[in-house]
């Protein structure tokens, strides 16, 4: 779709000096031009130092197995020292959350919320998710162009969030808004907030609203929703305001944005590979295998960042203590040494779950099986209803180096 840009990117990626590579620039992801750059980094500088960027100096790790190495060595690669994004949170506006903690605090808080995605609870949620999905799909127009992001992806994931938090259903749009606030790049023209202070203020408003619900749940017997779990958890019931803000934002973004973008990116990918779409329509049993492949192909989180606690080595390259290390999931998931024909969507790929999109190690996505469940139901209901849904124009991507998202995608469902 972006052929001219892609050609420029390929030649630029080939000719640019390696020390001038800075993959933290959000335009690579908004323009979808990042791939040839990472292909070269994987080949020539798999552990790469960028001395100057908008976010200061940082190291890039771009190969699957080297990312795995960092993921499992959490004592060396800390989440607590500097957080999880190449961009630091401003010192006076920090919002701790359990993904920004190391053991033991991380472990204690994670265990408070992880039962919400226990296998039995997922089975309980399935009928509700299915009936909502059916309703959303049945309301879609036929033979006219509409925005898939607004009418399907956001609708479904917002309802899911409302259920996870047992949030007032008619007010659920607030959750999506706060999610967008939490991940926005404040320099993007279409961002809902335009400064870190503004973001902080909006998230404080979120915390104030949520604290009323939190207090109610605390005074009620424990229930199976995230707020009740936090309100009754021994390591979370007395959180300071900023930690409450941080953990809520983590759970809202984690429970929403990534799945939203996989719902959009999956349909786009199937349009890019129409043979795969035909394969799916001919054999609906492939959905189980296709869902993790979509999550790999889309890679909804672009990177995660760590900070070294000591001098260390990754793939033979020395990295000093206190360094910012960026693990580029978008690159590891396209690593030819880990995934066969990585730039293709192959819905019946072998071992489709061996991808980095959920991360690995102690910070691995808590909701990974819930995300898969939502996507599986969506596609099961789509293939029963519709012929091939057509992408009608350019999918507009998010200006971000962290969330690999879509703002809009025009589609049409033929009669």
């Amino acid at each position: 779709m972006n052929a001219p840009v892609a050609i420029d990117a390929a030649s630029d990626a080939a000719s640019r000096p390696l020390d001038a590579f800075d993959m933290s620039d959000p335009r690579y992801y908004q323009d979808d031009t990042y791939r040839p750059y990472f292909a070269r980094l994987r080949r020539e500088a798999p552990v790469h130092f960028c001395g100057q960027s908008a976010y200061g100096p940082y190291w890039s790790v771009s190969r699957y197995k080297d990312i795995m190495h960092c993921e499992v060595n959490h004592a060396v690669f800390s989440n607590e020292i500097g957080g999880i994004q190449v961009e630091d949170q401003p010192a006076n506006l920090q919002r701790p959350s359990f993904i920004r903690m190391d053991p033991p605090r991380h472990d204690e808080q994670r265990k408070v919320v992880s039962p919400i995605v226990a296998p039995a609870n997922l089975a309980n949620m399935e009928p509700l998710i299915r009936s909502r999905t059916q309703r959303v799909l049945d309301e879609l127009p036929r033979n006219e162009t509409f925005d898939w992001v607004e009418h399907v992806s956001i609708k479904l994931t917002t309802m899911m969030l409302a259920t996870l938090f047992d949030f007032p259903f008619e007010e659920r749009g607030k959750l999506t808004y706060w999610s967008d606030v939490a991940i926005a790049n404040v320099n993007a023209p279409d961002a809902p907030v335009h400064s870190e202070q503004e973001r902080f203020n909006e998230l404080r408003n979120m915390a104030e609203y949520m604290s009323r619900l939190f207090e109610e749940r605390r005074n009620q017997p424990p229930k199976f929703d995230l707020l009740s779990m936090l309100a009754h958890g021994s390591s979370t019931r007395e959180m300071p305001l900023r930690e409450f803000m941080g953990n809520l934002a983590l759970l809202i973004v984690g429970g929403n944005d990534t799945t939203r973008n996989s719902m959009t990116g999956g349909l786009l990918a199937l349009n890019e590979f129409p043979d795969e779409y035909r394969k799916l329509l001919a054999n609906h049993a492939l959905i189980e295998n296709m869902v993790p492949e979509i999550i790999r192909y889309v890679t909804p989180v672009i990177h995660m960042r760590r900070t070294t606690t000591q001098d260390t080595e990754v793939a033979g390259t020395h990295i000093p203590a206190g360094a910012k290390v960026v693990m580029w999931y978008v690159s590891g998931n396209r690593d030819e040494d880990a995934v066969e024909e990585p730039d293709r969507l192959i819905i019946d790929r072998k071992r489709p779950r061996q991808h980095l999109s959920f991360g690995f190690g102690i910070h691995r996505c808590v909701g990974n099986r819930l995300a898969e469940l939502q996507l599986r139901i969506l596609w099961e209901e789509i293939v029963q209803r519709f012929p091939m849904i057509e992408v009608m124009g350019e999918a507009k991507r998010t200006y971000s180096n962290f969330i690999h998202g879509f703002r809009s995608m025009p589609v049409r469902i033929p009669n």
Partner: protein, 108 residues
Amino acid sequence: MPKVTYIEFNGTPHTVDVPVGLSVMRGAVDNNVPGIDADCGGECACATCHVYIEPDWLDRIGLPVPGSQEASMLSFAAVAQPNSRLSCQISMTEALDGLVVKLPEGQH
């Protein structure tokens, strides 16, 4: 060749040969035993090859070392029990011939 029996959550048993030196996880995956996902491929990094060791075998196999990566990964699984192990961390030996493991309701 030593054998391992995997019992699915619904009770269905699968007895397969697992070569010495291979992990109990690999034995399941290579023989398409349902219920072992093994997302990370054996790096002890995802906890989706979770099994319950039958009591008779627990002495020989042992529990994860407290504070180890395996122990912390297991501690996040809502369905973990005192006899839980990650099957990628159990290497097959002749002494484990006849091992029986049960699979949890789901891997996550």
